[in-house]
Symmetry: C2
Subunit: 145 residues, 2 copies
DNA sequence: CTTGACCCTGTAGCGGCTCCAGGGTTTGAA
DNA sequence: TTCAAACCCTGGAGCCGCTACAGGGTCAAG
């Protein structure tokens, strides 16, 4: 099957399929006479697996490591469990960070309810004062807008 | 004061100060004879404000809009309140998304406790099956690793 | 024989920095 | 006075995971 069909079946943009190939996550398939990529069912399975992991917010390096752990012949589950645990830890940390953040935003928000000149706005005043230091950890789980 | 002192006082990397200037968030200061940036107290105040907003996970365009709303002469609080409400909404959405994600990860995690060959791992099997579709909204509030 | 859907490669852009190379300046001590 | 360390400058590349081009080739239906 050609890239368009593969992409449709895996619910993944065509450009992203090519991107995964370039990044070494998805094996390069053989090519047709016209230099078109020609995929088989195993490619679809693998792509679907990758997409599933992405929908769980795993990073590409994490997915790479997971695929390696799965494909190492005779390997047991332990490294797979560990990878998942680590990812769950990332997510839990991010949730905790965002909950703290939301509390702080809410506490700032109560300082104003409109109908005042901006120069007297309690929100602006609060934002102008230094905050208690919040730790900023490195994390791959992404943003809130 | 020179850029190093400003950065130290605002607890902000020097490169980031230059970046904010390039992005139009922080006014370009006058220059010394040696072409060094020379800042005054208002610059420090403004930079501290920006950093405080960043620590609350606002995007640079959000901060820009906030500064505009504050500096429009005679403006009232309403647009400021609205900006903050919108941001709080982003954060709340991201928290809800991550909570759903964590539940799903936890439910996958219980399928394995090591000591099995990877080929029989319940986690791998679960990851290989399609998930219920989760909506993926655009958001600026960032990741969990 | 033309239209339109598909495919190819390569490159640039998003946000918000961070880091580097390759230079110039200032400051303090020997 | 001379030297090193610490500071400053600009411009450009890199991070992640795509996304969106530009500029071309291929193929099937009408």
């Amino acid at each position: 099957m050609r890239i368009g069909e593969l992409a449709r079946r895996a619910d993944c943009p065509v450009e992203t399929v090519r991107y995964y190939e370039k990044e070494g996550l998805l094996a390069a398939p053989r090519r047709s006479g016209a230099n078109y990529r020609d995929y088989g069912p195993p490619h679809l399975e693998r792509l679907a697996f990758i997409r599933r992991c992405r929908s769980l917010d795993m990073s590409l390096p994490e997915i790479h490591a997971l695929l390696d752990a799965i494909e190492r012949p005779g390997a047991d589950c332990a490294p797979i469990d560990a990878l998942l645990d680590e990812h769950i830890g990332h997510v839990a940390t991010r949730i905790a960070d965002l909950n703290r953040l939301k509390e702080e935003l809410d506490s700032i928000r109560v300082h104003c309810a409109g109908r005042r000149p901006a120069s007297a706005c309690g929100i602006v005043e609060t934002l102008s004062r230094p905050a208690a230091k919040r730790a900023r950890r490195a994390s791959h789980v992404r943003g809130a807008k």
